[in-house]
């Protein structure tokens, strides 16, 4: 059963540190999404890529967040410097673009910034 894999599952770090979250999309899926989930804001789209090219990153604070796809099997989301308000669960999802298939979500990275 193909799955989206996210690492790490949990991350606790101090304010000001760099955080890198990784996502391995399902093989053959060419569209990758990054979402953030908090109690207050719910599920918010941060950025997404198609064929490794960024399509929309308007939901991402540009001064501290960056998202990349070094290759088709890896997407990364970095926060530098991290702040306590970045504490949330970050989800990656993938889909075969322009298909009738649903987005498949990973199990998330639970991030706590102290």
């Amino acid at each position: 059963d193909a799955r989206v894999t996210q690492t790490p599952r949990h991350k606790v770090t101090e304010m000001g540190q760099e955080v890198t979250m990784r996502c391995q999309p399902i093989l053959g899926h060419n569209t990758v999404f990054w979402y953030r989930q908090t109690m207050m804001q719910g599920l918010e789209l941060l950025a997404y890529f198609r064929n490794r090219a960024p399509l929309d990153d308007s939901g991402m604070p540009k001064d501290r967040f960056s998202a990349e796809m070094p290759d088709a099997t890896l997407a990364t989301l970095k926060i530098q410097p991290s702040e306590p308000r970045d504490s949330a669960v970050y989800f990656c999802a993938s889909v075969r673009g322009h298909s009738n298939q649903p987005q498949h979500f990973g199990d998330g990275t639970r991030l706590s910034i102290l």
Binding site: G42, H98, P102
Partner: protein, 111 residues
């Protein structure tokens, strides 16, 4: 115009009862309306989805009712079970573009 409004925020139902969650949208360009189910510690998983050319879709105990003129859609869970206890999100998008999620409904089904 990009918002999807979901209600109620939480729902308590007895085992065997019907759970109903409602969503409303504004953007008439949306053409894909999925419902996702999320258990604690897990990512959202697709439960059922509908496109606006049909008014109802049923899969087992789960039914989506869609009212295009009112720009509303709802999820009905028949014969609700304790295992259905989870958070449910409605969403909307244009084909498989970015999903706009509702705020979620926490469902608790008591035996």
């Amino acid at each position: 115009q990009q918002q999807v409004k979901q209600s109620p925020q939480s729902l308590i139902v007895q085992k065997g009862g019907i759970s109903i969650i409602n969503c409303a949208y504004e953007n008439t360009a949306f053409d894909y309306f999925p419902w996702y189910q999320q258990f604690p510690g897990k990512g959202p998983a697709l439960l059922i989805a509908i496109r606006p050319d049909v008014s109802e879709k049923k899969e087992g105990r789960f039914t989506i009712s869609f009212n295009k003129s009112a720009k509303q859609f709802s999820l009905h869970i028949m014969d609700s079970q304790p295992g259905d206890s989870a958070t449910y999100f409605c969403a909307a998008s244009i084909i498989t573009d970015k999903l706009i999620f509702g705020t979620g409904t926490r469902l608790q089904v008591f035996p």
